[in-house]
Each structure stands twice: as structure tokens, then as C-alpha cells.
């Protein structure tokens, strides 16, 4: 999957939780949760959505690595490659 | 003075008692005038000064079981009937120790024990009551008399004619006493009555009716005794027109524009007390010492009555509705 595919997957996971989330003004290196006002429940649902979409298991301890868009893409790319 | 044969038992004690009662009324009324000026007595105040002989004379003919219905000028009748001056004065003050509980005031003196069915302030309003009281006595087989006092002004009211007719029609034991003091409030009699001889009106209802000199206590007593004897014998009602004169205004707020001072002075010499005192002195029944003693006793009695009224209490507002209906606090 290309970086673009992974970014889209993250966007899809988030919009399932926060339909009105606007990605165009999103700063990829800044906190997703702050910019999109996602609380811990939202974030858990995003993780679950990614797990279901990509079949990748994300332990709690890795959550911080998903806090930004670029971070998430990099993390997922690594997990899928492994 | 009349010296007719049916004059009452003229013992000295009886004569002095008559004088004493008239003097009590005179001084009581003068004290009331003073207290009214000092704002101790309020509202309306109608004084009996000058008409004392009528009340004193008539009451002599009544027994304790007889009933009295009077008008708003009833202090003299109440005192003559034997109601104590203290409760009457307290009633003038509006104190609850008054003979009507302080609720009636000067115009509404009531006393069940003396069968004194009030001062009635509606001119002529008392006449039908007297007829009813007599009707009740007659229907319950009680040989009692009801005396009804009113002024000549009442003769112009419909109730006067209705009551006299009912009493005569049903032959009821009512003694109608008309105190004709020549002025119905501010109007001289001649200005208000086509027929100024009130007793003639009464006679037309087919009842015993006569006129008497209201300034002569002996004459009034004799006439009253004669009339009451007829009532007790079942002759039906009797009417007594007493020609008298009130020395003071109709009520406390009256500039007496309707009569001149000379007329008042003229009647003052012919007043009941002056004449009776003179007659008692001339006939040797009254000596200065007697008069001084009577005056002193009355003075003390009046002061005691005022003290009784001053010491009286106000009815608490919480009892405002008591007696509107029997028993309950009223609703």
C-alpha cells in the first residue's frame, strides 16, 4: 500500500467517528486529536477501525506513534511491512 | 302643674326619685357633650336635654318584663329604664365593656336584661319591631307591653302608618310614644306635616290616642299609666304624643340655623327640670339640702361612669366577625 493509500485509510477511520472532520487544513505533523477534537473514546474507535480495515493490531503502548498523520502512516507502513 | 285626680302617688320619695332620674339624664348628656368635644366620643351624638320628663314619666308605667324599643336619641330612655351609666358611657367610647359590646355606640344601646331592644338609627325603623315583639307576646299568651319611642319625624315614614295599622288591626299591646320636639332634624314640623297634631293621625287607625305636656313629668307619668292599663286590659295599642322641646342641636354638628336663640331660651324656662324643681320647692317637698345631696350623688355617679369607660378595653380585631352569625366566628 502506498503512503497515500495509508493516509486515506487513516482519514476513513477518523471520518467514521467524526463525519464532519475537515482534513484539508490538517497539519500532518501536528496532533490529530487536538486538531480534530478526538477524545480517548474517539481515538480507540479509530484504532479499532484501522485494525478492522488493515488487519493490523495496535497495542496501547504504541498509541503515541499514531498521534500525528505522518506518524500514523509511518507506523502502519512499518507494521504492514513486518 | 296638673292636679287631676288620676295623678300618680305623689309621695315625697317618688317625687324626689323622678327629679333624681331627670337630673341624672341631664348631667349625663352634658358630660357627653363635653367628652364629644374632647374627641372621646365620635360619630353622631343626639342629646336628650329638655326631653327628660318623657322618658322618666313613661318608664314609671312599665314593669321589668315589658320591652322598650327606642331611637338614636335613647340615652335618656336607657338611663330611665335603669341601665347603669357606666356601660352606656363605655358604649359611647366604643369600649368592649359597653352595653352593646362597644359595637353600636351612642345610637345603638342594647340591653337584653332590661329588654331594651336598642337604639334604632333608621327613622321609623323601630316601629315594626315593636309590633312584632307585641305580636310574639300575644301569640305566646304573655301579658307584657312593648313601649316604642320615636320622634315626630317618624310620622312621615311609611313604616309609621304600616306599624300603627298592623298594631290596631291585630289589637297588639304596643305603647307608641311620640316625642314631638317640634323639629324633625332641621325642619320645623309645620314644614313637613300637613297635619301637625300627630295624635290625630294615630287616632285615625282606631286606637287610644292623646297628647300630653311633655315638659310635665307628673302629667306624662299619669298619661302613660292610663295608657298602659288599657294595653294590659287588651284594649289594643295606645298612642301618646308628648309635646316637648330639645334645648340642644339635633346632633353635635348642627348650627341650629333653623331656630332662633330667643325661642330656645323661652323653652329653657319651661324646661322639665326647672319647672319640677320650682314646683317641688313651692310645695315644700324639696329643700336646698336635698338638691345639693342629689347633685353630689349624681356628680359622683357620672365621674364613675367616665372612669369606667376610660378604663375600658378595645375589642381585639381578631373578634371582628364574632356574632355575625350565632356560634361561629362568622364566615
Amino acid at each position: 500500500m502506498t503512503d497515500e493509500d495509508l493516509k486515506q485509510a487513516v482519514k476513513d477511520a477518523i471520518s467514521g467517528i467524526a463525519p464532519e472532520a475537515g482534513f484539508d487544513a490538517l497539519d500532518p505533523d501536528d496532533g490529530l486529536r487536538e486538531q480534530l477534537d478526538l477524545d480517548s473514546m474517539d481515538f480507540l474507535n479509530v484504532v479499532i477501525a484501522l485494525h478492522e480495515a488493515l488487519g493490523v493490531d495496535i497495542p496501547e503502548v504504541d498509541y503515541p506513534r499514531l498521534f500525528t498523520m505522518n506518524g500514523a502512516v509511518a507506523y502502519l507502513k512499518a507494521r504492514l511491512a513486518a | 302643674m296638673t292636679t287631676r285626680e288620676n295623678k300618680p302617688r305623689l309621695t315625697r320619695d317618688h317625687l324626689l326619685a323622678l327629679l333624681r332620674r331627670m337630673l341624672l339624664i341631664r348631667h349625663f348628656e352634658e358630660k357627653c357633650a363635653e367628652l364629644y368635644s374632647a374627641q372621646k366620643i365620635h360619630g353622631f351624638l343626639h342629646l336628650y336635654i329638655g326631653e327628660e320628663a318623657v322618658a322618666v314619666g313613661c318608664m314609671e308605667a312599665l314593669g321589668p318584663d315589658d320591652a322598650v324599643v327606642a331611637t338614636y336619641r335613647e340615652h335618656g330612655q336607657a338611663l330611665a329604664r335603669g341601665i347603669a351609666p357606666g356601660p352606656i358611657m363605655a358604649e359611647m367610647y366604643g369600649k368592649r365593656e359597653g352595653c352593646s359590646g362597644g359595637r353600636g355606640g351612642s345610637m345603638h344601646i342594647f340591653d337584653a336584661a332590661a329588654r331594651f331592644y336598642g337604639g334604632n338609627a333608621i327613622v321609623g325603623g323601630g316601629l315594626p319591631l315593636a309590633v312584632g315583639l307585641a305580636l310574639a307576646d300575644r301569640m305566646q299568651g304573655r301579658n307584657r307591653v312593648t313601649a316604642c319611642f320615636f320622634g315626630e319625624g317618624a310620622a312621615a315614614e311609611g313604616e309609621f302608618h304600616e306599624s300603627l295599622n298592623l298594631a290596631a288591626l291585630w289589637r297588639l299591646p304596643v305603647l307608641f310614644v311620640c316625642e314631638n320636639n317640634l323639629y324633625a332634624m332641621g325642619s320645623a314640623l309645620a314644614l313637613t306635616e300637613a297635619q301637625t297634631d300627630i295624635h290625630i293621625k294615630a287616632a285615625s287607625y282606631n286606637m287610644n290616642s292623646r297628647v300630653v305636656d311633655g315638659m310635665d313629668v307628673i302629667a306624662v307619668e299619669a298619661a302613660a299609666r292610663e295608657a298602659v292599663a288599657g294595653l294590659r286590659a287588651g284594649d289594643g295599642p295606645a298612642f301618646l304624643e308628648c309635646r316637648t322641646y330639645r334645648f340642644r342641636a339635633h346632633s353635635m354638628f348642627d348650627a341650629q340655623l333653623y331656630r332662633d336663640k330667643a325661642e330656645v331660651e323661652n323653652w329653657r324656662e319651661k324646661g322639665p327640670v326647672v319647672r319640677f324643681e320650682k314646683w317641688l320647692r313651692d310645695t315644700g317637698h324639696l329643700h336646698d339640702a336635698d338638691l345639693a345631696k342629689i347633685e353630689a350623688e349624681i356628680e359622683a355617679e357620672i365621674e364613675a361612669a367616665v372612669a369606667f369607660a376610660e378604663a375600658g378595653s378595645w375589642e381585639p380585631v381578631e373578634e371582628l366577625t364574632r356574632d355575625v352569625y350565632a356560634g361561629s366566628a362568622g364566615r
Binding site: - | 352593646s100 337584653a112 319591631l129 315583639l133 306599624s163 352569625y325
Partner: protein
């Protein structure tokens, strides 16, 4: 069901008078034409022969005189029943009723009471024109010191008199002229009834129709019409106009939340105005619509039938007033 007798309202009143005369020697009837003539509404027909002229006393045309005499006789220990031919003539005796009967107990500091009953006819509808058609019971209900009753049924016509006679204070009984000929069945053993409570003649949940005396039948008729349109109206017969049975009125209005008051008096300053004020004071937060009133038109009652009927409250007026309050689909 105990045995009943078919009779008119007039006969029920006569029965009440006869019963009272029999029970208590202090009772006597006094009024114009009550004796030889048998009463202008034939209520006291036959009583003179049965009880004699002492206890069935015709009087001259002297309302103030004989009402005052009645008051005096009551104070003297009798239990008089004074009949004033109609409320219209009672105006001549207002002074005696207001200044003596209603006042003496209180003004004498409780020394003298007036255990008197005054009966009089009232109301219009018989084309006898303005001076004979007044409905002024509301005036008398204004006066503290007396009680005012309005018997609208045979039971009350038969039962109220004795309770009124037993009352130590003056009681006025108003008999509506249209009721005298009303017929019905009365229990053989019908006797005295209470005189201080209203009665719910028909239960209902949507609206309270409050009335008395001659207007009760019209109000019950209106309730029937409303029932046909799905509106369950409660009909309250006041029975006593003073004291007003406020508890029954308020309890009902709290439940139904709407009220129409039917009163043959003129609207301004009428008894219906007093009842409306008491509802506003006692059930304001329960009201779901303003209180309505159906009264006579404010006009001297006219002689011609069509005008008289137009002036008097009618069932149609009551139905319209009720529907306006219930509104919409009811």
C-alpha cells in the same frame, strides 16, 4: 327504593310549611294573601282552614311593616315564616332585612338574634315584564348576617325550610317562579336536608357548569347536548348562595380546569362575578381557560316572549360558552 309520591314543587313547599307548623307551635306563616287567598302561587292553599288565622296571618300591603314585625316576633321568641310575594316587592323591606335582621346580633354584642325565615319567589320567564321579573338573590347573598338558599329540586323545596327554621339567624329562601309547576317523585319520608353544601347533580371531567335555582334545568339540558359532542360537563347546583360552598366549587374546577357560571342575574356585580373571583383566587394555577359566565342581558326584562327569552340565559348559550372554553376537538 322507598315509596314515592308524585307532586309539584309548590306542593313540596306546602308540605314543608305544614310539617313545620306541626312540629313547633312557635312557627307561623305571615304574608300578603297567604290565608284566605291561599297564596299568590297557591303554596299555602288550605293551610288557613287547617291551622287557623293566628298561625296563617294575612297582612296588609306593608312589606316593611310585616317583615319588621316578623323580625320583632322572632326576637320575641317566635319562629315566623314571612312570605314576601316576590323578590321585586322585597325592595320595600330591604331596610328591615339589612339594617335590622342581618345586623342586630353583631351590633348588640351578641345579645339579640333573629331566628326568622323569609321566603320569596324570584326570576323571570312568565312575561310579567320588568317590575315582576327581577332576579336579585345575588344582592342578598352580599350581606353578612343572613343566609340565602335557592332550592331547585323537590327534595330541597321539601327539606330546606325546617333546617332554615332551626337556624338561629335569618335565612332567605328564593323559589324561582318557573319551578312551582315542576313535577317529580318525592320520597314519602322525605324530610329536612342540609343547607350549607352545594350538590354535584351530574359528574363530568371536561368542564364545570356552576348554577342554582331556576337555571339548574337549563344547565342540565346543556350538559346533555355537550355529552353528545364528547364533552363531559359536571353540573354543580349551589343550593346555598350564602355561604357559598367554595370547597365543592374549587375542587371541581381544579379537576376540570374550566368553568362556566350560569346566573339569571345581570352580569355586573352579580353572584356569578363573585364566584368567578373565588375561582380565580382558589384555582388560578389549575385554570386552562378563562372563567366564562352566562347571565341575563343587562336590560329590564321585556314583556314580549321572544324578547324575554332572548334576554334570559338559555341552554344554547351555555353550550356555546362551554365549547368556547373546551375548544378545538374538545
Amino acid at each position: 327504593m322507598s315509596a314515592t309520591k308524585h307532586m309539584t314543587y309548590r306542593e313540596a313547599v306546602r308540605e314543608a310549611i305544614r310539617d313545620a307548623l306541626g312540629r313547633d307551635p312557635r312557627v307561623f306563616l305571615m304574608g300578603e294573601d297567604v290565608g284566605h287567598y291561599g297564596g299568590c302561587f297557591a303554596v299555602s292553599m288550605g293551610l288557613l282552614d287547617e291551622f287557623g288565622p293566628e298561625r296563617i296571618r294575612d297582612t296588609p300591603l306593608s312589606e316593611s311593616g310585616f317583615v319588621g314585625a316578623g323580625i320583632g316576633a322572632a326576637m320575641g321568641g317566635m319562629r315566623p315564616i314571612v312570605e314576601i310575594m316576590t323578590v321585586n316587592f322585597s325592595l320595600l323591606a330591604l331596610d328591615q332585612i339589612v339594617n335590622n335582621a342581618a345586623t342586630l346580633r353583631h351590633m348588640s354584642g351578641g345579645q339579640f338574634g333573629v331566628p326568622l325565615v323569609i321566603r320569596m319567589s324570584t326570576g323571570g320567564g312568565k312575561q310579567v315584564a320588568a317590575q315582576h321579573s327581577h332576579s336579585l338573590e345575588g344582592w342578598y347573598a352580599h350581606i353578612p348576617g343572613i343566609k340565602v338558599l335557592a332550592p331547585a329540586t323537590l327534595e330541597d323545596a321539601r327539606g330546606m325550610l325546617w333546617s332554615a327554621l332551626e337556624d338561629p339567624d335569618p335565612v332567605l329562601i328564593f323559589e324561582h317562579v318557573l319551578l312551582y309547576n315542576m313535577e317529580g317523585d318525592l320520597a314519602e319520608d322525605a324530610g329536612p336536608v342540609d343547607i350549607d353544601r352545594a350538590a354535584i347533580r351530574r359528574a363530568g371531567k371536561d368542564i364545570s357548569l356552576i348554577t342554582y335555582g331556576g337555571s339548574l334545568l337549563k344547565t342540565l339540558a346543556a350538559a346533555d347536548v355537550l355529552a353528545g359532542q364528547g364533552i363531559e360537563a359536571e353540573v354543580i347546583d349551589l343550593r346555598t348562595l350564602r355561604p357559598l360552598d367554595e370547597a365543592t366549587i374549587i375542587e371541581s374546577v381544579r379537576r376540570t380546569r374550566r368553568a362556566v357560571i350560569v346566573d339569571e342575574g345581570w352580569r355586573s356585580g352579580s353572584l356569578s362575578a363573585e364566584i368567578s373571583a373565588r375561582i380565580m383566587e382558589g384555582a388560578f394555577y389549575e385554570l386552562d381557560a378563562p372563567v366564562a359566565r352566562v347571565c341575563s342581558a343587562e336590560v329590564p326584562l321585556p314583556y314580549p316572549r321572544h324578547l324575554e327569552q332572548a334576554a334570559l340565559p338559555q341552554p344554547a348559550d351555555i353550550v356555546a360558552a362551554a365549547k368556547a372554553l373546551v375548544g378545538g376537538d374538545g
